[in-house]
Amino acid sequence: MTGYLLEVEDLTVAFASRDGTVLANDGVSLKLRPGETLGIVGESGSGKSVLCRAILGLAKGKVTARRIAFDGRNIDEMTPAERRRLRGSGIAMVFQSPKSSIDPVWSIGDQLVETVRLHKPVTRKQARIEAAALLDRVGIASSLRRLDDYPHQWSGGMLQRAVIALALAGNPRLILADEPTAALDVTIQDQILALLMSLQRETGMAMIMVSHDLGVIAETVDRVAVMYAGRIVETADVRDLFQAPQHPYTAGLFASMVAGSGQDKILTPIPGQPPDLQNLPGGCAFAPRCPRVRVECNRSVPRIDASVARANACLFPIGEPLAMALQP
């Protein structure tokens, strides 16, 4: 027993495309303890969403990993039935777009009842009561009456609460939240984040929060892994990351963001275009856009393990003089 809730070692997800193989995830490793929250930061092409799906076994494409284990048990070694039970009761997921996460043809209540009964042997009547209780927990008033509402009658924010209720139905120990607030207005995002955090405190469940928004990450996680072009490029405690980012990409992200109300800071965007996964350069994928690039950067760059407290996949990380080719 390792004590880790989730262990991912050397995960690779490959897709076949017209011009060859594309590695949406390339050698990703991370570990999560029970009750811990991990943030995954990345833009498009970083592989952050594919990572979540791969953990759940929902990734399309070829998934290879040295190990994916939940609560010490290798997911590969589970029977299909066990894996199905794992989804929802062990690991649950909240997706980005509430409107496409909920089946529009069934009422909210029907979907909640179905999910509750999947994880517990209860009658429909009991399940309905539990469903209403779940809606209460996620802040939906008049829950019993609303069970009969259909998804099209609800706003985006309310639907996302319903999605969270569905995720909670199995009492999961880990929640994967993939950009859960990206499609929502700022004031609603505020509500959903507050809800997620209070639920996390209340249930002690672990959480992986995927977001491109460093503000969302700052307020919700203990540790952060930064992804670029399918690889993890930096991992750190959230405070350390904000105070002293080591990887040039992380630093570039901070410099690109418009700070909240406050000083009039000039943005220093990261030059160039997002990575083309079909045509990655050899060596460091960020090299074409990196302000600190050197000749050595075009050779291989190490994979890092996001369970290590502080690591970065850079030959010349920030905070160390460029002359030294050192690596923590």
């Binding site: 207005d185 004031t187 995002q189 984040l193 307020e219 405070r239 700070a259 997002p274």
Partner: protein
């Protein structure tokens, strides 16, 4: 000599006269956009729909070379305002004036006056360009249709436009599917600028872009503000983004302007409870797991009630809010529609 403009905020209750140093380039007066109700058609398809006022008596003006940011969440009407300015949506009431000419009611002969006066940059980089047209063809078409330059100079003008928006000349023959999101938005910008419009309306131009690319495009817009002296209406839902490129900001909620002022006034001394809520709701860039409750705990109501439209969610709501608030003048440039704004 100062020119007086009558501006009305709130629901037409009070008229405020202010002095602005230059005549406005774009002036929107009492713009109202109502989507007509529709009776159902039995089983033949059309659903019944009540009449809906997306924009309710909105007035503002933009001086030449100025950028006004228009902020709001979904349902605020900001997109509708933008579309009414370019005639994609017909205003129910009100008047839009560009460079002194009324463009909201144009005769057929003058039909090209509006496209030359006001242009738009769209949100979706993936849908805003014709997938079969190369960059050159998209831009050249605009130039030749509007006869901006003589036919022989079209190629040179296309290259000039591409340079202005930071696109390398090597992309001239590229199709949209070869371009990244940020590059496509630049093409959209070049297309809008090709016509040399007096006013540019940008409808969430960076919302669909990656953070690092957003910053590139925002910097470009800031640069063009000074080099080209662009007059812009910048519509967005993110306050930080709006602040970065705007001189003044207007905050909309459910069809009306709640507060309008200079960037620093809105961000440093917001007076309307909704503006304050928006600012407070933004996630802080401070690495500390949040334990505070949400700023607003309710959702937008589906039915508008009497009086102030923010009343149902406002932390300061009081009986007086049952009457629509007049615009309170907080400074020559700062107005807020709230009984408690002072």
């Amino acid at each position: 000599m100062p020119v007086s403009y009558r501006r009305t905020l709130g629901h037409g209750v009070a008229t405020v006269t202010e002095s602005v140093p230059k005549p406005a380039l774009l002036s929107v007066d009492h713009l109202t956009v109502e989507f007509a109700g529709r009776a159902g058609f039995g089983g033949l398809g059309a659903k019944a729909r009540p009449a809906f006022r997306a924009v309710d008596d909105v007035s503002f003006s933009i001086a030449p070379g100025e950028t006004l940011g228009l902020v709001g969440e979904s349902g605020s009407g900001k997109t509708t305002v933008g579309r009414a300015l370019v005639s994609l949506i017909r205003p129910t009431k009100g008047r839009i004036t560009v460079a002194g000419k009324d463009v909201s009611s144009l005769s057929r002969q003058d039909a090209l006056a509006l496209p030359r006066a006001v242009q738009m940059v769209f949100q979706d980089p993936y849908g805003s360009l014709n997938p079969r047209f190369s960059v050159e063809r998209t831009l050249a078409e605009v130039l030749s249709f509007h006869k901006i330059v003589p036919p022989l100079e079209t190629g040179a003008e296309v290259r000039r436009l591409m340079e202005i928006v930071g696109l390398p000349a090597s992309l001239t023959g590229s199709l949209p599917r070869h371009l990244s999101g940020g590059q496509r938005q630049r093409v959209g910008l070049a297309r809008a600028l090709a016509v040399r419009p007096s006013v540019l309306v940008l409808d969430e131009p960076v919302a669909a872009l990656d953070v690092s690319i957003q910053a590139q495009v925002l910097n470009l817009l800031r640069e063009l503000r000074t080099t080209l002296g662009l007059t812009m209406l910048f519509i967005a839902h993110e306050l930080g983004v709006v602040r970065y490129v705007s001189d003044r900001v207007a905050v909309m909620y459910r069809g009306a302007i709640m507060e309008i002022g200079t960037s620093s006034e809105i961000f440093s001394t917001p007076k309307h409870p909704y503006t304050r809520s928006l600012l407070a709701a933004m996630p802080r860039l401070v690495p500390e797991k949040r334990s505070r409750p949400p700023v607003l705990s309710t959702e937008v109501e589906s039915e508008a009630g009497q009086g102030c439209r923010f009343r149902a969610r406002c932390p300061l709501a009081a009986p007086i809010c049952g009457t629509e608030p007049a615009a309170t003048k907080l400074s020559p440039t700062h107005f807020a529609s709230c009984h408690f704004a002072a």
